[in-house]
Symmetry: C2
């Protein structure tokens, strides 16, 4: 079982920031943390060593994707996901809930679970809350997620309420199943409730009444305005136990991370740094740049003079632009290394600022730099 | 100027193997050597450090591609190709001749040079033998190639003779131009002559009558049977000066390399290891394997137990198959690292065998392993 150690930090009255360390069987995770997404068993375009160099202490795998390909027979035979992909630090897997909602064909939700068709070959499958736990136990991730029921944006109050109720029932079933198995890894509960404050509160109360080792907010960053997401986080986060890790799923932009850390969130994941890298969008303290832009054609400097990533330490904007425009595979790797480093370094700086009681000052500097 | 140092090695009467070191401004190249191809300024799917780890002592860049994109203004502004791509070991550039023949749209050869349309945007360009040298001097490669005129296979004797004559005239013009410029880097002459022994001899006599620091055989591996290629190499190589490096362009399979080293060739380049890697074809001492093959689904072992490459030291066939079938970008990199390591390690073993007077024994073992 994980242990969440809260670290002492000076209080800043305007914020509810938290500093901590999650201790797992595969090592420590300093929080607040960003988790790069390794959808099908590799963080796209980079290697394990690239992730180590960027300072990644935990990565995420997607149960839905891994279940369909390579499938559980392969991962089981290979001794679990850590051994299969040769990653020796902590790992988190989601439950598949979000992919049923966003990706699977013809997903049909009923009280029992979700039946769906593979987006790869159209084959039919069924996930129950118990099966979602079983599969994640086979994957062997340090942190597993309950099967939840997402709604999109917009959704009616009634739709949102139905999904909330089902999420709570499924959370209970998954938790009971996990406890029976006495599996050493950890199952987190997920709060739903769409963009309705009273439903977020209700869901948080229901989910936190169960003895999960950690809690997440799901169903955010699904198309709602950022203000609604912040409202929901602001309502739900204070209802989660102080002594357990809190994870906001699938979020988000650098500014989202800064805001949500300020509200007391500990863990984040998002495909944005890696996906945007592959589309030529690179993060800098001054905002994002598009590496294809003609103004970089003759530019000898790096993406960011102050960045210590491998890409910035070695390559010019001119070369990166050329690689990107030539669709060289090296482009995707160099861009991804930079963006992941940006995100992970942002979180490291946030942790340092919190430890010094200077999160507020850090947050102002973050926005000042952006506005230049 | 380069210096080609012949190293002492026991003679093996059946073979004409040579052992040497090419000394260049960017360092030493042990020969026989294989040169990975970095078409547009990156060896596809791998980084500089990957190439160092695989033991690459020289890479190749394609003048035609680099001239079109990013273009000479960019590379000139950046201080040459070495600085642009951040490669600090020796580099060789071709002249564009082969790409005019194989890739450019509507290439028109006349006595003056080649006019062609870009395969990227259809823009019109013209290369003369002098311009091919000028552009390569701007690129700043340690070894530059004369503009030559390739013929395909099959080609008539008359077509081949015309191309041969033009190649000789162009070689002379390029050489004169290079000597005028007193550029420190090295220009190699190229022997043509298609698959006609007497034309190969004639071309070799004409080209070696000029004072190039090294010589190449061009227009091979363009569709002719391997036996014809070996015949041509066997005819032409003995006519090249003993004290200068010899390069067979665009060749080939591992067996091609073994055979041609036995005939006295020093340098090779080919896209085969990197291109095949991206198509899932991996080299092993027992032959090539297709990583998509279902028999690797549950295979915990590496591609080759005896291989010391990063891929084999870290990843299972099962994982490599999964990455390839999922089209993960990491797949292309891991496969390419293995194949380049295979080629470069093959050449290292060949050099060692030659130094011990055991090339014949090595060659037998090479074929014995393949036949298993």
């Amino acid at each position: 079982m994980l242990r969440f150690e809260r670290l002492p930090a000076p209080e800043e009255p305007e914020f509810r920031t938290r500093l901590g360390v999650i201790h797992t069987e595969h090592g420590k995770i300093p929080t607040p943390i960003f988790m790069p997404v390794g959808t099908v068993g590799s963080v796209k375009a980079v290697s394990r060593e690239d992730l180590y160099d960027c300072g990644a202490s935990i990565i995420l795998g997607n149960t839905y994707h891994l279940y369909l390909r390579p499938g559980m027979e392969v991962i089981g035979h290979m001794g679990g996901l850590h051994k299969f992909i040769q990653w020796d630090r902590p790992m988190l897997t989601d439950s598949g809930g979000f992919q049923f909602f966003s990706l699977a064909k013809l997903a049909k939700f009923n009280e029992e679970g979700v039946s769906f068709q593979s987006h790869i070959d159209g084959s039919r499958h069924f996930f129950s809350p118990e099966k979602a736990v079983d599969i994640q136990m086979m994957l062997g991730a340090d942190i597993m997620m309950s099967l939840d029921w997402c709604v999109g944006y917009p959704a009616t109050e009634q739709q949102t309420m139905t999904a909330l109720e089902r999420t709570t029932q499924w959370a209970k079933r998954g938790l009971d199943h996990w406890k029976e198995k006495e599996h050493p890894n950890n199952l987190f509960g997920i709060v739903q409730g769409g963009v309705f404050s009273h439903l977020r509160k209700l869901s948080a109360q229901q989910i936190t009444s169960m003895d999960f080792p950690g809690f997440a907010l799901g169903g955010l960053s699904v198309g709602e305005p950022a203000e609604r997401m912040y409202e929901m986080a602001d309502v739900a986060l204070p209802l989660l136990p102080q002594d357990k890790p809190r994870y906001i799923m699938g979020v988000g932009t650098p500014a989202n991370l800064v805001e949500l850390v300020g509200m007391g969130c500990d863990m984040f994941d998002c495909v944005m740094p890696s996906r945007n890298a592959r589309n030529g969008q690179l993060f800098t303290p001054r905002g994002t740049i598009n590496i294809a832009n003609a103004r970089f054609r003759l530019e000898k400097g790096p993406i960011d003079e102050a960045c210590s990533c491998y890409t910035c330490q070695n390559y010019s904007l001119s070369y990166l632009r050329h690689l990107y425009k030539s669709r060289e595979l090296l482009s995707y790797r160099l861009n991804t290394i930079h963006n992941l480093h940006y995100y992970l370094n942002l979180m490291a700086k946030i942790r340092e600022a919190i430890s010094l009681g200077q999160f507020g000052a850090f947050r102002r500097m973050f926005y000042d730099a952006l506005e230049q």
